[in-house]
């Protein structure tokens, strides 16, 4: 299953400066795993040390937020587009 993964601007420097890449995957988790195998420097920015997707990393399959689907077990079909979209947070203390 060929799936397109769109890489957010702040992470493109860790992915050969490409805007997107194609991976072969049956689930979102597999797609992200292949993405980080292909571009190892992305891993620490997408996942915590214990392998969980960071809270400010939002993943969509064809505009559907995977939090409202089956999270990383969300199935993907040939031709799907996975978008990684940042959310931004901060503050003092």
């Amino acid at each position: 299953m060929s799936v397109k993964v769109i890489i957010p601007t702040p992470l493109r420097v860790y992915a050969g400066k490409v805007e997107s890449t194609e991976v072969s995957a049956k689930t979102v988790g597999e797609a992200l795993g292949q993405l980080t195998s292909k571009f190892g420097d992305l891993r620490k920015h997408l996942f915590t040390e214990d392998g969980k997707l960071r809270s400010f990393v939002n993943v969509y399959v064809n505009d559907e937020d995977i939090r409202y689907l089956s999270k990383e077990n969300t199935p993907t079909r040939d031709g799907d587009t996975i978008s990684i979209v940042p959310s931004i947070a901060g503050g003092f203390v």
Binding site: L11, V13, K44, H45, S87, A89, G90, F92
Partner: protein, 153 residues
């Protein structure tokens, strides 16, 4: 990236960030920095801010010491940037009654590559403004020099 060290912004846009911080005091303000990177000598990159994209702080539960920009806000900011031939190159926020230094919370939630401008606002009066970038290994923020000068469009 850590070897990019200068951010250019016009005094007028810098004043708008300060004014936003004063306006939302004692809550944190936030917004997008729209601009572009230009390669200068020795493969160094100069980042220029051409416009702001002010946002509403989504942290209703703790707006005094937190700010939040949703993924939809980010997509809207990216669209606004594209319409002006620009990119979202960073974000700004205020620290009410606290120094313009990134907190551990700022670092834990930061993305690399983006510039993070922080303005300190003391008793509704904007004070120091700084800019920071997360290092590639996520262990620290590096201070980025702010060049206050007119930016050619």
């Amino acid at each position: 990236m850590a070897n990019q060290a200068q951010l250019k912004i016009s005094p007028e846009l810098a004043d708008k960030i300060r004014a936003h911080g004063a306006q939302t005091y004692p809550h944190e303000c936030c917004g997008g920095l729209l601009g572009r990177d230009t390669e200068v000598a020795d493969r160094r990159v100069c980042r220029e801010i051409h416009a702001l994209h002010p946002l509403v702080n989504r942290r209703d539960d703790s707006p005094n010491n937190r700010f939040s920009v949703t993924s939809q806000d980010v997509l809207d900011a990216e669209k606004a940037a594209r319409q002006q031939g620009l990119e979202v190159v960073g974000w700004y926020h205020s620290h009410p009654d606290h120094p313009a230094r990134p907190s551990q919370y700022d670092r834990d939630h930061a993305w690399p590559w983006y510039s993070y401008i922080i303005v300190s606002v003391a008793n509704r009066v904007p004070e120091e403004m700084t800019s920071w970038r997360l290092t590639d290994d996520r262990t620290e923020f590096e201070c980025e020099e702010i060049g206050l000068q007119r930016v050619a469009s």
